[in-house]
């Protein structure tokens, strides 16, 4: 966790968060299997987030879920969860922990800053708490997770430096 910038009403930190992509049909058999191994029933409607104290599971589209480990676990344990999920032919799990960089954004001015970089509508009525979205931020593909106290923003690692500079620039200007 490194600090990117702290200014009035906004604080941005950069984190490496482990993440697994789950692909499958999303029918009840699929959901139950995940529930069995993660003790977490996947959300049913699109872009919803369900989390317990060690995982956060977001349904990004009708055949893709992102499993996010906010609390870091050792790789061995992660690989075990991965193998366990892949046991069932219904679930296709892939570890993408190294491919993305996460930014954690907090503070009352967070949305004013992000409005300088994206057209996305952050108003409460179109981006409720515990929902996710994939959109463009400063022309970079990003996933945004609207968690209760904070906002998690992730992008591919090769764009991370550029996005970090743009976030800092949006706070300064």
């Amino acid at each position: 966790m490194t600090e990117v910038i702290r200014s009035d009403g906004v604080e941005i930190k950069k984190k490496v968060i482990q993440q697994i992509i789950l692909r499958g049909s999303g029918d009840s058999k699929f959901n139950n299997h995940i529930n069995k191994s993660l003790k977490l029933l996947p959300p049913s409607d699109n872009l919803r987030i369900i989390s317990n104290d060690n995982y956060t599971l977001a349904k990004m589209s009708f055949d893709q879920w992102n499993l996010i480990f906010e609390k870091e676990i050792e790789n061995k344990k992660l690989n075990k969860i991965l193998a366990d999920l892949n046991k069932s032919p219904l679930i296709l799990a892939t570890n993408i922990s190294d491919s993305q960089v996460f930014f954690e954004i907090q503070g009352k001015n967070s949305f004013d800053i992000l409005n300088k970089l994206t057209h996305f509508d952050f108003r409460e009525k179109s981006f409720k708490k515990s929902t996710a979205a994939q959109t463009l931020l400063a022309r970079v593909d990003c996933s945004i997770f609207n968690l209760d106290l904070k906002l998690l923003l992730s992008c591919n690692r090769s764009f991370a430096d550029y996005l970090e500079d743009r976030l800092i620039d949006a706070v300064n200007y």
């Binding site: 032919p89 922990s97 190294d98 491919s99 300088k116 057209h119 509508d121």
Partner: protein, 992 residues
């Protein structure tokens, strides 16, 4: 022009003097003044020279519709074409007039006025053709270009502007009376509202005119203050001031620009303008109206201005440009100016009205009678005269007699037009109103509401009912505001577009477009020549094509044309109103998305190592890839590339291949899907093996290539070219979802999950054994084109034995976060074996020696696998794959298609050039038939001479013959056509 200050004004700080320079001379204005109001205070009205005839021009309006007063702001990077009527002054400001040489007073260009009878509409289409076409390029055009253009080019400027996106339910454009009333009804409702006004203070006509005497029995100023406070306190309404909405795009998408330094010099390093990009559910247009002028002889003389502008200078800027202006009008709108003058203790020199006596409003009649102002009804001004400023006017009164009136200022009013620019940008339709003689909004196409004078309501009597009716759908509280007017008049206008000059003269000019010097005579000439459609007329005469886009005159032109053609104005139509509403700064459009942020620089996981070790980078799409490595500052690219490639042939080299695309294909039907996408057949492929594969477009042409690793029939990993990564993934997803939805298959991009290090060279095996001691790299255990999963210090890695250089090689796939450690380890282990990094240029050289193609360089979208000699990669038994059917089309099975061959210079010492063509003629006498072109060519230290790959007609059958290669100096070089492989033809080194 003798102006007078009106100190009782809330907007101008008369106690705060400001000095500024205009054309080198120092003047004083006050805080809150625009350049125009400050110049008028100093009795300066000559501010510029017109575009074509270089006639003297003065300040004509008090707003954004200004056609004449465009100045250059020297103190701001000499920004050209700035409206003096908008730009506020600040201490030490330096301003220059435009389009005149040597000076404003005496401009050499005014000689054009002398020749003006010849320079009428479209004269340049009929001349400048003789005596020879060289004259146009070397004489006429340079002359025209130097005379044309208004301002001088600005200085280089790297500005800071930012973009702010808004998502709102309601956007109210215009903070005048109607805008404020609309905003009031939304206070604390559950609508997100944005109120935008172009001025520094909200209020519109409340501040700018004398029309209103009281609102809800309060002084307009007090009501305004209260209302603004109420709106500012409301949680759901945001106000943007100094912000002009320039563009109204489809599906309610607005662009507006905010000036962040109004009345002060922009500070370096601070944001000087903001572009607001607004997505709104509904738009409420209450941006008011614009007064239009009238055409008569010399209606362009400095000292002539619009009557509502004169009134705005009095109310808004506390300044009467003249103590006793003459007023000429054909409508009731200029009544409030008379009222304003008298209230300020002044009075008009004369009031001339084209309407008959009975039509004059009674209270205006009394006001004029009581203050014994000379009144001329049923009268018209035949002309204005004076040297560089108005000195007298010639009035033809009701009896037809001509009266000469001396005056220093003439206020005109030809009627008012609703400001329909934004409404038509929203693709709404207009309709001509025969009574009010103007175009009014009629049929909207988007959720657009127009209120007040912007909707063509020029009277105040049904203000409440109009707003309540139009806001009904929002179920907000009803309005019931009580208004009292100073000149309680119903809007009344009589048709008058033009007054013909007193005496016929070739030089008499009555202007219809002030900025582009278009006269009413030009319009008549255009119609006689057949340009009677309004769009033709505009382009032939350049009417309303200036920076003001004819805001105060384009309707007049329609009136004149409809009279000339004897057609209703609706049949004449209008030209299309194009965005932006007013010129929009390039820097604001660019925002922060330029200079260092123009495009991301995508970096591989070991980018910092490359920088520290002398890498020179090349742009490949958005990626930065090491092109070559310099061992010292003055090693040339050629030497570096020869060193790197030689080292791979003799010892071992390592390349960072992380930028290549990597796609994981998983699912029950993965095998069937892969067989459909790629040309190869993967059915009989063993698990743990890899195969080089081609992907075609449906037209049968090569689109991308890569290595396919088969983990199982349900799990493949495909690599793609760097440039092709996004398109290959996109294509796979498209076909999986739209053509073969029944196949259970999923694709994930894992490009950034793994770094990829390609190590190759004779000593690779020793290096790998030392770097990864627990892995058996023997040929038997680890054959060519197979891959294995291993764990190294707890990190899951995958090693694939493949090579693009033709040497023994391995591709190591490592989770990106752990890549730097393993890279450093391999570097240190490999040192003793002469391991060195190499870049893309050396890779291109080495693969070309082996005859391996690079998609996008050796192919250009018109090359099939057969042309490349890769027909062995086509799964003959497969029933279908992308592009299969196209491979059997007449033009694709032609024998003499262009095919891949090798080229070497007949004389080994000769050079070859990339992009040159292969021809059969020794001497080039163009046009020369070409067989094809050199796609890749390099000097090879292994071969000791230049060599190249080329795509030429009938290539394979020409192997063994001679031809010529063209050179960039139009010479030729003798070449031999050979097989496209120059090194280890039977791949001994690959498989040992």
């Amino acid at each position: 022009m003798k102006s007078i200050n009106l100190k009782k004004n809330q907007f101008i700080q008369f106690h705060q003097k400001i000095s500024f320079k205009f054309d080198g001379v120092k003047y004083f204005g006050y805080k809150g003044d625009t350049i125009a109001s400050a110049l008028l205070r100093n009795n300066i009205n000559l501010v510029g020279r017109s575009f074509k005839y270089h006639r003297p021009r003065g300040i004509y309006t008090c707003g954004i519709e200004e056609p004449n007063a465009l100045v250059q702001i020297i103190s701001e990077y000499s920004e050209p074409n700035t409206r003096a009527t908008i730009k506020k002054i600040y201490e030490g400001m330096e301003i220059e007039s435009q389009n005149r040489w040597p000076s404003l007073e005496n401009d050499f260009g005014s000689i054009n006025n002398l020749f003006s009878p010849i320079f009428t509409a479209g004269f340049y289409y009929k001349t400048f053709m003789g005596p020879h076409k060289k004259f146009w390029k070397n004489l006429y055009e340079p002359l025209i270009r130097r005379a044309a253009g208004l301002g001088k080019p600005p200085k280089d400027f790297k500005g800071i502007s930012n973009h702010i996106h808004h998502n709102v339910d309601i956007t109210i454009i215009g903070g005048g009376l109607n805008g404020l009333l609309a905003a009031k009804s939304f206070i604390n409702s559950n609508y997100d509202v944005l109120l935008i006004d172009f001025e520094e203070q909200l209020g519109g006509i409340i501040n700018n005119s004398n029309k209103l005497s009281s609102i809800d029995n309060k002084e307009p100023k007090d009501w305004l203050k209260e209302t603004i406070q109420e709106i500012e306190d409301s949680k759901n309404i945001k106000i943007l001031k100094n912000t002009l909405v320039t563009t109204y795009n489809y599906i309610n998408h607005l662009i507006a620009i905010e000036d962040r330094f109004v009345g002060s010099k922009p500070i370096e390093g601070k944001v000087n303008s903001t572009l607001h990009k607004i997505r709104t559910g509904h738009t409420i247009l209450c941006n008011g109206h614009i007064e239009r002028f009238l055409s008569f002889q010399n209606n362009d003389l400095p000292g002539i201005m619009l009557s509502s502008s004169f009134e705005k200078y009095m109310c808004r800027y506390g300044l009467a440009p003249s103590k006793e202006p003459v007023i000429f009008s054909n409508n009731s709108n200029s009544n409030s100016l008379v009222y304003g003058l008298i209230k300020a203790g002044l009075k008009p020199k004369a009031y001339i009205d084209s309407r008959s006596g009975e039509e004059i409003e009674p209270n205006l009649f009394d006001l004029i009678r009581k203050n014994d102002v000379p009144l001329y009804t049923n009268s018209q001004i035949k002309g204005a005269f004076g040297n560089k400023k108005i000195e007298k006017i010639l009035v033809e009164d009701s009896s037809g007699a001509l009266n000469e009136i001396k005056c220093d200022c003439l206020c005109l009013s030809g009627g008012i037009n609703p400001d329909v620019h934004l409404f038509t940008q929203s693709k709404g339709l207009l309709d001509w109103d025969e009574k009010d003689l103007t175009y009014k909004p009629s049929k909207p196409f988007q959720p657009t509401i127009t209120l007040g004078s912007a909707s063509g309501q020029f009277n105040f009597d049904n203000l409440n009912s109009d707003i309540n009716e139009k806001l009904k759908t929002f179920k907000v509280k009803k309005l019931d505001v009580k208004l009292e007017l100073n000149t309680n008049t119903k809007y009344n206008i009589e048709k008058l577009w033009e007054v013909s000059p007193q005496k016929k003269s070739l030089w008499a000019k009555s202007f219809i477009d002030l900025q582009n010097d278009v006269t009413t005579k030009d319009i008549r000439q255009a119609i006689t020549e057949g340009f009677d459609r309004i769009e033709h007329l505009k382009r032939y005469t350049t009417n309303s094509m200036g920076t003001d886009q004819g805001k105060i005159s384009s309707i007049n032109a329609l009136g004149i044309v409809s009279d000339l053609l004897d057609k209703k104005v609706n049949e004449v139509g209008t030209t299309i109103y194009r965005p932006p509403y007013a010129p929009l700064s390039f820097s604001a459009i660019a925002g922060r998305n330029c200079y260092e942020f123009y495009d991301p620089e995508r970096k591989s996981p070991i980018h910092s190592w490359h920088i520290k070790n002398g890498a020179i980078f090349e742009d490949v799409g958005q990626w930065k890839r090491p092109w070559y490595f310099q061992i010292n500052k003055d090693e040339s690219m050629h030497d570096a590339v020869q060193r790197e490639s030689k080292n791979v042939r003799e010892n071992a080299g390592i390349l960072d291949g992380s930028t290549l695309g990597k796609i994981e294909i998983k699912g029950e039907d993965a095998l069937e899907f892969m067989n459909l996408i790629y040309t190869n057949s993967f059915t009989k492929m063993k698990q743990g093996s890899a195969r080089y594969a081609l992907m075609l477009g449906e037209d049968g042409m090569v689109k991308d290539d890569g290595i396919i690793c088969k983990i199982s029939d349900q799990h493949f990993i495909a690599t793609t070219t760097t440039g092709g990564a996004a398109t290959v993934l996109g294509c796979m997803e498209e076909y999986a979802q739209t053509e073969w939805p029944n196949l259970k298959v999923f694709m994930n991009s894992i490009t950034e999950q793994y770094a990829t290090f390609n190590i190759s060279g004779p000593k690779t095996r020793e290096i790998m054994k030392k770097a990864f001691p627990n892995i058996n790299f023997s040929n038997e255990e680890f054959p060519f084109m197979t891959f294995q999963f291993h764990e190294f210090n707890g990190i899951p890695i995958r090693i694939l034995r493949a090579s693009f250089t033709g040497e023994l090689g391995y591709e190591i796939y490592i989770p990106s976060n752990s890549a730097p450690k393993i890279w450093d380890n391999i570097q240190s282990v490999g040192k003793e074996f002469g391991l060195a990094p190499y870049g893309t240029e050396a890779m291109h050289l080495l693969r070309a020696e082996k005859g391996y193609i690079i998609v996008g360089q050796d192919t250009d979208g018109s090359i099939t696998p057969i042309d490349l000699g890769l027909s062995w990669m086509i799964g003959k038994s497969k029933k279908d794959f992308l592009g299969k059917r196209s491979l059997a089309r007449p033009d694709t099975i032609r024998e003499d298609r262009k095919q891949l061959v090798g080229i070497i210079p007949s004389n080994k010492a000769d050079k070859l050039e990339e992009g040159q063509h292969i021809i059969l003629d020794k001497e080039i006498k163009s046009p020369v038939p070409m067989l094809g072109h050199i796609t890749s060519c390099y000097y090879s230290s292994t071969l000791g001479h230049d060599f190249a790959l080329a795509i030429i007609k009938n290539g394979r059958s020409m192997i063994g013959t001679k031809a010529y290669a063209s050179t960039s100096s139009m010479g030729t070089t003798g070449v031999d056509i050979v097989k496209p492989v120059f090194y280890d033809e039977n791949n001994k080194r690959l498989v040992s």
